[in-house]
């Protein structure tokens, strides 16, 4: 039986197990939207801006491990996906974005709402397609899902001219893909694994740096086994947070620009770095020349191009983190590094400032995060935007639950939090999702409150409102002589905004009300917004100044230099 292109797309999505799509209709996807009502199994969630759709699909993918799907129309609809696609690309998120395109005969004529979205997205997608024959559509969808979800995951875009959506073809969904140029390596090279085992056996001061790959590959047990058997301290990147339980005695927290002192000190003094599913981002390494200067490096990553890209590697192991760790774990036996672990614990005592909260009459953002952690007992999934609130949430909530810290790491996308929290809640309908927002960050996508209301999503939203673009202000304070250029931020009355969207909300201005407000939010069914008026010029410490080595840690403001 012949189906239209739109039907073929929907049938193909069902074959791929898709049950939810985030999107926004428009002229060039009208045939698709017309068809969607024939497919009630495909729940379509209407967002308020295409950026909302792509971030929601992104977070949905992060929490479920499935491919996130979003739809947009041509031209502005498609270009509104750009930030979200770049975000998903940088953080290796499996995603398929379907965009409408002007009919084939109009392509290249600057037709109304035409944009060359495949051309635009080449650098920010893992792959993309412009479908020019309806007979290719089912195969294209199959390939797109395969590419998005295997190897190093990433977003794939399918651009679909309107007339293709209307044309008919026989529906044959291929059983397998045939991509001769795409063969991800999963298992580690046995010789390299042997070399790694040897280095692990010789190391006196080893550290593990766990990155996002641990979470993407769901290698929690394998990482724990490796660390505990060999008694190696585990440090994480920002995106590695919640890949290893922070209550474990071997956990020494996050590394990098806002990393904890013991973690950064450990790297600088280590003789072996075992980098697992991380890509040596400059925010994690600081100045490359002083990164782990005495250490040999074992790097496990599924993407061969990541190995040796920023840091020289002694033992490269290309493969899926979980598969490689299983293989590695077979070869190792118990070892102790008591002296080294004592050294790390001493640093912890020596540099407690990272997670200590100073005394204050006012509400400190760290205090809010700590109270949310206490109230949720660590059982929530925390979703953040980008800025100070993101770092406070990274440092002051303790992540024991696997995969429970959802953030925009690589691209650093402000405005990620609200649509992402919503998308995470769609993926985890029965779990508590806390959206930690900045007053600046949330205003970039605040219209998604409409989506949250329409879907009655029970997301709990905490705005850490300091009246500043906080992280930029912090840099201006520390490195630009307090010149607060365009960082003081007038904010709307968030309670009235919430009211307009029909979402219950409250201001919290007194420290003693913080705990009760959080409790109230959690006890209220459906969404809830808390606007915490926090200390305006609180800084995120520790901090490594940009361009410095990661052991050059600031624990308090610099004295005025000039």
């Amino acid at each position: 039986m012949k189906l239209t292109g739109a039907q073929i797309l929907c049938e193909s999505l069902l074959k791929e197990g898709v049950d939810v799509v985030f999107g926004y209709p428009g002229g060039q996807v009208l045939p698709l939207y017309h068809t969607l009502t024939q497919y009630p199994q495909l729940r379509h969630i209407l967002v308020r801006h295409e950026q909302g759709a792509v971030h929601a699909a992104d977070a949905y993918a992060r929490v479920t491990g499935r491919v996130g799907v979003c739809f947009a129309t041509s031209g502005p609809g498609a270009t509104n996906l750009i930030t979200g696609l770049a975000n998903a690309y940088m953080d290796s998120i499996p995603m398929v974005a379907v965009t409408g395109q002007v009919p084939r005969a109009m392509i290249g004529r600057d037709a109304f709402q035409e944009s060359d979205i495949t051309g635009i997205t080449i650098p920010i997608t893992k792959h993309n397609y412009l479908v020019m024959d309806v007979a290719d559509l089912a195969k294209t969808v199959k390939e797109a899902f395969y590419i998005a979800s295997t190897g190093r995951p990433g977003p794939v875009l399918i651009d679909l001219p309107r007339d293709i959506q209307q044309e008919c073809a026989e529906f044959h969904f291929p059983a397998r893909v045939n991509l001769p140029g795409y063969k991800p390596t999963l298992g580690g090279n046995p010789l390299q694994i042997k070399k790694a085992v040897k280095l692990l056996g010789e190391a006196k001061k080893p550290v593990i740096i766990a990155g996002h790959g641990v979470r993407i590959s769901r290698a929690y047990k394998e990482l724990k086994f490796l660390a505990e058997t060999l008694q190696i301290p585990v440090l994480t990147t920002l995106l590695g947070i919640s890949g290893f339980p922070e209550s474990n005695p071997l956990s020494f927290g996050m590394i990098g620009m806002h990393g904890l002192a013991p973690a950064n000190m450990a790297i600088t003094n280590s003789d072996l770095v075992v980098a697992i599913g991380m890509r040596f981002d400059d925010r994690a390494t600081g100045k490359i020349s002083s990164f782990a200067p005495h250490a040999k490096v074992i790097h496990i990553d599924i993407d061969p191009a990541e190995i040796g890209k920023n840091v020289a590697v002694d033992v490269p192991i290309v493969g899926d983190v979980k598969t490689v760790l299983v293989e590695l774990n077979k070869e190792i036996g118990p070892v102790r590094h008591d002296e080294w672990l004592t050294q790390l614990s001493d640093w912890k005592k020596q540099y407690p400032s990272g997670i200590d909260i100073r005394e204050s009459e006012t509400i400190l953002p760290q205090y809010v995060i700590r109270k949310i952690w206490e109230a949720t007992k660590g059982n929530a999934t925390v979703v953040t935007g980008v800025g100070q609130h993101q770092m406070f949430a990274a440092l002051h909530y303790y992540y024991d639950k696997p995969n429970s810290y959802i953030t925009s790491g690589g691209l650093g996308t402000m405005g990620f939090e609200l649509p992402a929290a919503f998308g995470a809640q769609v993926g985890l309908p029965d779990e508590t999702i806390w959206c930690i927002a900045g007053d600046g960050s949330i205003q970039m996508t605040i219209q998604e409150l409409g989506t949250i209301r329409q879907e009655n999503s029970p997301v709990k939203i905490a705005i850490l409102n300091n009246g500043f673009l906080g992280m930029v202000r912090q840099w201006q304070e520390l490195f630009y002589q307090h010149n607060y250029s365009s960082t003081p931020l007038w904010c709307p009355d968030f309670i009235k905004i919430a009211e307009a969207y029909g979402i219950p909300a409250q201001n919290v201005t007194r420290k003693e009300d913080v705990g009760a407000a959080i409790k109230k939010a959690m006890e209220t069914e459906g969404p809830y917004i808390l606007n915490f008026v926090v200390e305006p010029e609180e800084n995120v410490y520790p901090m490594v100044p940009p361009g410095a080595g990661i052991d050059q840690i600031l624990h308090e403001p610099l004295k005025e230099a000039c």
Binding site: T118, G119, P123, K126, L179, P180, G181, K309
Partner: protein
């Protein structure tokens, strides 16, 4: 880590936009392409590209790995270290009068090039060879007056039984 010219050969799916994907990758990773030449390969639906780019060995290794990630790229190899045959084709239109024509023809003969078009005031020379040979020919013809020149950029192949193929990743 000497910076030098590398010859990268890629076998790619013959799909619209492949050249764009390749060129875009070089551009955004900060690599200058000296030349890029594409044409059909021995296999239907596959093209072979020869790219000449400058960079240190480690930079070129990184770009090779990035190129390998392009889905439409089947195999890619930096063949600079191998014993290779590389050629380029040039068409050069030179000013020529009745007096200078025979002198030009002598030079063309020495270079085993060909005159492929003649008019009252010019000749068109077709030459193949490596870049140095074509540059020498160009330099000798220059005094007569070059009206127009076009070159294809390098194409290359490893000698003997070696075939450009996908290498073991990260080895």
């Amino acid at each position: 880590m000497a910076s030098n010219k590398h010859t990268i050969v890629a076998l790619v799916a013959d799909r619209p936009g492949v050249l764009n994907r390749m060129a875009s990758l070089f551009r955004r990773r900060g690599f200058n392409i000296d030349s890029i030449a594409v044409g059909h390969s021995e296999t239907p639906h596959l093209s072979r590209m020869t790219i000449v780019a400058e960079g240190s060995d480690s930079q070129v290794e990184q770009i090779r790995k990035q190129v390998e990630k392009i889905i439409d790229v089947i195999r890619v190899q930096d063949i600079s270290g191998l014993d290779i045959v590389s050629r380029e084709l040039a068409l050069i239109k030179v000013k020529a009068s009745a007096e200078t024509r025979s002198e030009i023809m002598q030079i063309v003969d020495i270079f085993r090039a060909k005159i492929v078009d003649v008019s009252t005031d010019s000749v068109m020379v077709e030459a193949t060879g490596d870049e140095e040979k074509l540059s020498s020919l160009y330099n000798l013809l220059k005094p007569f007056g070059i009206k127009e020149m076009t070159r294809t950029g390098r194409i290359a192949m490893a000698r003997g039984g070696q075939v450009a193929r996908r290498e073991e990743a990260a080895e």
